[in-house]
Amino acid sequence: MKLFYHLGRYFLLLRRIFSKPENHRLYFKQVIHEMDKLGVASLGIVAIISFFMGMVVIIHMTINMGNPLISDIYNSYTTRDVLVLEFSSTVLCLILAGKVGSNIASEIGTMRVTEQIDALETMGINSAAYLIQPKIIGMMLVIPVLVTLSIFIGLAGGMFIAKIGNLVTMNDFLFGIRYQFKPYYVVYSLVKSVVFAFLITSVSAYHGYYTKGGALEVGRSSTLAVVYSMITILIADYLITQIMLS
């Protein structure tokens, strides 16, 4: 029963978020601001995570395919596909859900409990649209860029370990990552990331926006925001994969 209540309120909030903006120029400025605050500020963590993911994945691939009958190019070939298909999109977004989701929920939750949202409403500003719409649009624009970067940085991490640990020769590595490249996989990955961006921002904003109480509840909202963003990401991952790849 509770689930239907939340779903209903979530969709009503979405309708308010995407009602016509009062002032386009102001919203545009906000979108840029949010892209910077949520996206560009995540570059560091994205780079570190991706580099390590690439390193670990190629080690796994070399161990599991250490068979004289399988050419070494398959090590980097599979690393590439693993990164493109799941690690640089889904895993990365799960981690960003932790960072960005808690940030959004606590920011909006604090505005709720300190009556800043009430103040916006009494000024005649649609608080849901003004606060949340730029975040959703900003994240949907910036996440595909982060995912693309993550793929490249992940491959660089793999290459680094392949070289240092003498796992694969550079020639084989470079041949492998271009072998049987399917652009459709990248499309799939980017489509997923845009959907995840929408889910992270809207679900977290929902939890922040309906915070009741004080500072304690803001903390609770931001935990819930992360948990539910992650669950919805996993469900969406399954659905999109079912639709696009099978």
Binding site: T114, E115, A119, T122, M123
Partner: protein
């Protein structure tokens, strides 16, 4: 003109407002007074539509507020200036940006005109030179004053203040009272002020409503207040020994 008609509101375990009727005319300062917890803030939030009363109606110029669509309510609220009890400043913005937001949304003025208006409003609350501070860098009273400046920046038709001068020193408090009064007279605004400060009552109480435990228990002007035989109101007004002696 704002009129409320038998407004009642309960929370889970208590009835906070009991059948309140009142009429607030433009061009005069209407005060709602009462002890802490008597329901002033809840009544104010009912008036501006942030809390839905359980029963009763709010009328703005004889239009029922609950009949408006959410879109119409937003339209309508552009003419409202509200000061919240805790200020409710946007803490990601500087003082100047706080005042500029409503102007950015609802006016087509140039940057220069906006800056002039902002400086003018800040000056009226004695806050020159604070333009670029963030709310976290302000004292409690300064926050209050910024909130008041933000509420008047668009020359509202309805000015609703929840304890605008609590936490201010007596001199600044009187300054704020007089500012609100001036604006009320100058622009013929409908002004409602929550307060439990007796100085304010004596200074600007054109029309005073006394709430006690959620009931309207007395109504009149500041002249009447000293000569009433209403026991609860007398206890409230002449709370201190000194005041009892004066009475």
């Amino acid at each position: 003109m704002i009129r409320i008609e038998s407004v009642s509101k309960s929370f889970e375990h208590q009835q906070v407002l009991k059948q309140i009727d009142a009429r607030f005319n433009p061009g005069q300062t209407n005060l709602i007074i009462g002890r802490s917890g008597s329901g002033k803030t809840v009544l104010m939030k009912c008036i501006i539509g942030l809390i839905q009363p359980d029963s009763g109606n709010i009328f703005y110029n004889d239009q029922k507020f609950s009949d408006f669509t959410p879109q119409q309510q937003l339209q309508f609220r552009k003419e409202m200036g509200v000061v919240f009890q805790a200020g409710a400043l946007f803490d990601s913005m500087t003082v100047e940006q706080n005042l500029k937001l409503p102007m950015d949304f609802f006016t087509n003025q140039s940057q220069k005109e906006k800056t002039d208006r902002i400086n003018f409003c800040l000056q009226r609350v004695n806050l020159e030179k604070s333009n670029h501070l963030y709310p976290s860098e302000l004292s409690g009273g300064m926050k209050k004053r910024v909130a008041i400046a933000r509420a008047i920046v668009l020359n509202p038709k309805y000015l609703i203040c929840d304890e605008p001068n609590s936490g201010l020193d007596p001199l600044t408090a009187i300054l704020i009272d007089n500012l609100i009064r001036e604006i009320t007279l100058e622009f013929n605004t409908t002004t409602i002020i929550n307060t439990h400060d007796l100085n304010s009552v004596m200074e600007i109480g054109d029309h005073v409503i006394f709430l006690s435990e959620g009931e309207k228990c007395w109504e009149g002007s500041r002249e009447d207040i000293l000569h009433t035989d209403n026991k609860t109101l007398n206890d409230f007004v002449f709370a201190s020994e000194l005041m009892k002696k004066i009475q």
